[in-house]
């Protein structure tokens, strides 16, 4: 918001205490949900064939942790996600900086980018199935397509945000093109790049799981599909919980990375105040 927010009143210790209270409440909230999931099927309010008690899910989850197949699937999912995200990041940043810093390229590509970006990547599912079947390449194509646009668009915003005076100053001092990109364009664009990374990281996970679930690329998504169709309800829920935990971890990781790389940036410093 542009309206200046009023700083929270109170001393530092009060604020820390408030944060501690919030955390306690949050844990309490999670416990209540787990309690509900335990109680509803036990009391017969929900059929336990649809929703097994939480304890059964966690027992199954613990059992899964001892199985090699689970770890293989987890590894496949994480590898596909990381590889796709890395390819999308590299392509998005290089093309974004290139297109963003050359005016004529920017004008020429704007309409095409606006058209291609909203095309849902799941539209490509039939095509990749034909081309690659259920090999990991299928998932990779979908992940890269979905994540690439998120990053490209953010990088373009970031490059467009460069202060013209700063750029002109650098140019007057005869900075080389590369030096301008490194010292002027990149630092300005970095906050946008990190936003793009955060969005892309979660989209990439969505598409990786989708490809596994729908196409049958090896990974946790495939295991969930198999568990559900074979009636292993506890296992379905246990794996969904695992995928959710991965999702949370991805979010936390992206946010931590954002905070770390942008330590020097005003927005982060203001937050930490």
């Amino acid at each position: 918001m542009t309206v200046a927010t009023v700083p929270v009143a109170g001393t530092r210790t009060e604020r820390v205490a408030g944060r501690g209270r919030d955390a306690t409440l949050g844990v309490l909230g999670l416990l209540v949900v787990v309690g509900l999931v335990e109680a509803l099927p036990r009391l017969g309010i929900v059929n336990d064939r649809y929703l097994p008690p939480a304890s059964a899910m966690f027992t199954e989850l613990a059992g899964q942790l001892g199985e090699a197949a689970f770890w293989t699937a987890l590894g496949d999912t994480l590898r596909g996600w990381a590889l796709g995200l890395a390819v999308a990041m590299a392509a998005g940043i290089v093309l974004g900086v290139l297109i963003g810093s050359v005016g004529i390229l920017r004008d020429l590509t704007a309409s095409t980018i606006e058209f291609l970006r909203p095309i849902p990547s799941v539209a490509l599912i039939p095509l990749v199935v034909l081309l690659y079947g259920s090999r990991p390449t299928s998932a990779l194509v979908l992940v890269v397509y979905a994540a690439f646009w998120q990053i490209l668009v953010q990088v373009l915003y970031g490059v467009a945000d460069v202060d013209p005076v700063v750029r002109d100053t650098a140019r007057s001092y005869r900075f080389s093109r590369l030096a301008i990109i490194r010292t002027v364009v990149w630092p300005t664009a970095l906050p946008y790049v990190m936003t793009g990374f955060r969005l892309a990281a979660s989209v990439a996970l969505i598409l990786e799981i989708t490809a596994e679930l729908i196409i049958g690329v090896p990974g946790l998504g495939k295991s969930i599909g198999v568990a559900q169709s074979s009636g292993a309800v506890e296992k379905t829920y246990a794996l969904v919980i695992v995928v959710g935990i991965i999702g949370v971890a991805v979010n936390l990781l992206a946010r931590a990375l954002e905070r770390r790389t942008l330590r020097w940036h005003v927005s982060v410093r203001r937050e930490a105040r």
């Binding site: 955390a23 844990v27 606006e114 849902p120 679930l213």
Partner: protein, 258 residues
């Protein structure tokens, strides 16, 4: 003249790409990459009146219903949660967890409860998948409201309803719009995915049936149609956003100019 230049810039690359595709694929013998002329040729007969009424429109209707349910629920709950700090602290970790679950895994879970043949299960999938970004962004937007403004509204004895509409919803609307935009792309993904389970009709189901029966040019028309729909939906969203957030753009401009 200026308009012409803009138009030329906007159209140049798309035209070049289509022309390249047209000629590069012209003599194509490959099964997977049929000539573009052939794809365009079968477009009309593939998406005939029966397919529009039987597949495309029902898909879009499910998307619309699911999305609107998510929007109403997300904003409503988001305001309730966002306005009270203890409630927010209580709910936030749980909500973050639900948001982090990739929405496609909802399909097997919902299939357990509702089976996966009717419209209900698909609408529920779309609604449940779309609600989290809207809900969490609304919470965030409501939290960022200016407290002085809220207190002022209270001092002036504005009714709760007016406060909600004029101060809370309006102040949070830029954030709500950001969440709604994320939710829209998730909704389109789920619209397609929800049709891939079981024998179904719908836009996504048709495309996969074309692929399974090796009707490759028809499959391409489906991919292109889905792309066009995705593009049109994002244009529609931007129009609505443009109208609803006109005040916000003005405010930002004024801020920057100052």
């Amino acid at each position: 003249m200026r308009l012409l230049t803009t138009l030329a810039y906007a159209l140049a690359l798309p035209i070049v790409l289509v022309v390249v595709w047209w000629f590069a694929s012209a003599g194509s013998e490959s099964v997977f990459w049929p000539p573009l002329s052939k794809i365009v040729g079968v477009f009309g007969e593939t998406w005939n009146a029966d397919r529009w009424t039987g597949d495309v429109l029902p898909s879009l209707a499910r998307l619309a219903v699911g999305y609107l349910v998510a929007l109403v629920l997300g904003v409503l709950l988001g305001v309730l949660i966002g306005l009270h700090r203890p409630v927010r602290a209580f709910c936030e970790p749980t909500l973050e967890f639900f948001r982090a679950v990739p929405p496609p895994v909802l399909v097997p879970v919902i299939a357990l409860f509702l089976g996966y043949t009717g419209d209900t299960s698909k609408v529920v999938t779309i609604a449940v998948g779309c609600v989290w970004p809207i809900l969490l962004n609304t919470v965030e937007g409501v939290r960022g409201l200016d407290e002085v403004m809220l207190d002022t509204a209270r001092c002036y004895r504005l009714s709760a309803w007016t406060r909600l509409r004029q101060v809370v919803l309006r102040g949070a609307s830029p954030q709500i719009a950001a969440g709604a935009r994320q939710a829209l792309s998730i909704g389109v993904i789920l619209m397609v995915i929800s049709e891939l389970f079981g024998a179904n009709r719908g836009l996504g189901a048709s495309i996969v049936q074309f692929q399974r029966s090796f009707a490759i040019p028809q499959m391409w028309t489906g991919i292109i149609l889905l792309g066009i729909l995705g593009f049109l939906l994002s244009v529609l969203f931007r129009l609505v956003e443009h109208y609803a957030l006109a005040w916000y753009r003005g405010l930002r401009q004024a801020d920057r100019g100052a």
